[in-house]
Symmetry: C2
Subunit: 464 residues, 2 copies
């Protein structure tokens, strides 16, 4: 920072923000100001943590790990072979923090019921509902098993999962295959065509792609595709148009080299080509494999997860291990498909906010001005969201850049101290599910993560 030494500056807020000024020997006064969001009794903890050398070092390390990730697509295989706890019994995993059947939202119930029929544990959704409500089928969060899932995020044993290994750290994370938009399981739909599609996915799509991935000479670096897509108008959460084309291109070349049956190649090519979100789930596995490397990093105040089950949103802070800080899920505002309106919307749901944790998605919205046609707002809003997220993050990504902003790195590493200091809450863009089971997607929109879970996390860090 170059500053005229004759300048007299006022620093508003945390005194440790003046360190840069001290270095330049600029004179300043410090004004102890708090925006209204941070409750006065927590100011002391906030100050203490923000000026702690241990916290600073831990956050620097967390930021370094998020940037150092090298997530490679290593396999695509049935969840029962890969994801811990799905190899026996009737277990389902779901998006967000833990939730009981009683408190579970409509679309997640619908998706679980559909999954029980798909797995042939139940003959129909009525029987499935009985099995789920009586505890015959157990469930827990994907996040507890190195996995993530978009929207309802249901993972059942027969579903194929992308296996993405973070080569820098050796850990692997998983995510299911994307079914498409509209009437699909992850948005709570469970009709026959939904189940038939899922069945084709595990009978044809999964095994074929598994074979071609195994035959590939070098594994695919998922970050490379995401970085390219950010230069092609995607933010890789709610806009994956370019990324899906890039992934389709990679997989098609492999299929043409490996698969004999041309009809199968065409079917898979068409399935991917008709679903501009096909890339999302692969990206989410990569984000999870990245974010998991800071889970439990002592003293770090950076988020390692943010996820919603449609009833509650939960955040995890790196230094607080696997503890969830939850609050009621917010209601996204956005654009609705024909015939649906805000009234039909379920509260915010899904693990896809793992994208924002690593600096893409809503945080990279400036790269994707055309997304406003899908989630609402204007291109200027998209730019501003990215600028704003720059205030509450540790630094700029060295992997993901926004060409429109002179190739500035995306805001990466949400620091709960900065969030509470400024009252700026993480920005999320998301699909919107119908609140009733059995219907599916009704739109897409935007919202902010709520304040209370950040305050809870701060209090917990103090106690710790």
């Amino acid at each position: 920072m170059k500053l005229d030494k004759n300048l007299k500056l006022i620093n508003i807020g945390l005194e440790n923000f003046t360190e840069a000024l001290k270095k330049t020997q600029t004179s300043y006064v410090n004004l102890d100001y708090r925006p209204p969001s941070a409750p006065p009794e927590l100011m002391e903890i906030l100050d203490e943590l923000a000026s702690s050398e241990k916290v600073k070092k831990a956050n620097e390390e967390a930021f370094k790990r998020l940037n150092a990730a090298q997530p490679f697509l290593m396999d695509l295989l049935p969840a029962r072979e890969a994801v811990e706890g799905l190899d026996e019994g009737m277990n389902l995993y779901h998006a967000g923090p833990p939730v009981t059947w009683e408190n579970m939202c409509g679309p997640m119930r619908g998706a679980m019921m559909g999954a029980c029929v798909y797995e042939k544990w139940a003959k129909n959704v009525e029987e499935a509902e009985e099995m789920l409500s009586s505890g015959k089928v157990s469930f827990s969060p994907c996040h507890h098993h190195s996995a993530v899932g978009p929207m309802a995020g249901i993972l059942s044993p027969s579903m194929y999962v992308w296996a993405v290994e973070n080569k820098t750290f050796g850990n692997t994370a998983y995510c299911s295959l994307n079914e498409g938009l509209g009437k699909v399981l992850r948005f709570g739909a469970y009709s026959d065509d939904v189940i038939e599609r899922l069945t084709w996915m595990h009978e044809v799509l999964g095994p074929t792609l598994r074979k071609v991935i195994a035959a590939s000479e070098s594994p695919l670096n998922v970050s490379t595709i995401t970085a390219q897509a950010l230069q092609m108008g995607d933010e890789c959460h709610n806009r994956n148009v370019a990324a899906t084309n890039l992934l389709q291109k990679e997989l098609t070349e492999l299929m043409l080299k490996t698969v004999d049956d041309k009809k199968t190649i065409l079917d898979i090519f068409t399935f991917i080509g008709n679903n501009p979100h096909f890339y999302l789930n692969l990206s989410m596995a990569a984000c999870k494999a990245t974010a998991d490397t800071i889970l439990g990093l002592p003293n770090s105040t950076i988020l390692s997860a943010m996820a919603r089950n449609g009833t509650e949103i939960g955040i995890r802070v790196a230094g607080c291990g696997d503890k969830w800080f939850t609050a009621p899920s917010g209601m996204p505002k956005g654009l609705f498909f024909s015939g649906f309106s805000q009234e039909d919307a379920n509260p915010d749901i899904g693990d896809s906010t793992i994208s924002e944790i690593v600096g893409i998605g809503g945080f990279a919205m400036a790269a994707a001005p055309a997304i406003v046609k899908f989630v609402g707002g204007t291109p200027a809003d998209a730019m501003n969201f990215t600028l704003e997220m720059g205030i509450i993050t540790h630094g700029e990504s060295t992997v993901f850049q926004i060409p429109q902003m002179d190739f500035k790195g995306t805001p990466t590493g949400v620091d709960i101290l900065k969030v509470l200091e400024t009252g700026i809450f993480p920005f999320i863009n998301t699909g919107i599910a119908h609140k009733e089971p059995g219907i599916g997607q009704v739109g897409a929109g935007i919202l902010r993560a709520p304040e209370s879970s950040f305050i809870d996390a701060l209090e917990y860090m103090e106690v710790k």
Copy 2:
């Protein structure tokens, strides 16, 4: 335009710019100011044409036609079957306005020599050179035959051409297939591998794609792909990454449905996949089919063509029919491939500036901030180029939009009156060829169209 009636305004420049003020009954004074670019003796002609109702109506009509174009890919076939004058004898077509062998630049000579070998008219490039210099092989501009070609733009009878029909007006335009970057014929290279590639293109690539295009149920609307690509970081002249992916996707689906031999599909898939400029030539045919609808539109001062042969740049003004107004080709400044520098550069060459005529390419650079990594400059420059071109164009495209600019239409319809009034000359981004025959591409860069051809055009319109 909403203006406070109490305002007192000064209009600087052409008095007819005050018409909008007259309508709002705002008081103003008119200051007769000319920027230095327009020579004083032409000011009267400029004023006269700019205030002529006939000119205004003609330009409105030209703008309407540019926007009304519906360019569909109808066929891909050997030039000898499609392009007038290539069905017999030894004829070659080339980029830009007419040029003699004596005045022809190195890369165009190299490309012509290579084409003679490729057509088997000559055994080697030495023999080809003799045939060309002695007049045994005749040549004329692509633009004279409803065709265009990038860089040297050589079109010979055996080369396959995209046939794009403008469904609104019924005319068809042609362009060859893109060979890739680097050592390729259109940049003046003629080595054995260049000829072998061209041979594969007419033996395998052309016939296969022709078959699949013929089997397609509905022809491809080229404007739709271009419009999508502008939302994905392309400007569709020097950046065609997203557009090529979209075209590859369309053609691959058709190949998977129509072609039996999987090896052929893979070879073509890989060829297209390895060439991020594959879309350019299809786009150029669409632009030509669009621009040709205003060729010869009486009284219009809007450009119908801008093209360079590497020695001269020529412009055509709609109201001046097929007359070329030429000036020496400028020297692009840009980024060079490893081992090459500005010293190696040939002056500006190619018909690809047909892109800018219809409002894409350099005029849409704001949509493609990442292109600066290829042609030089900063993303802010890219934004400013588009804004500046807005000043010298008739209006905003209703087909092509820039999401970064709140979905503003691209600047469309270069009006020579506005160019001369403001001294702002059309902006071009371009590939750079080595100045010697036989070498190929050495970089990519940017430049402006020169002033004198615009002045010549203005004088001609007066005489007329």
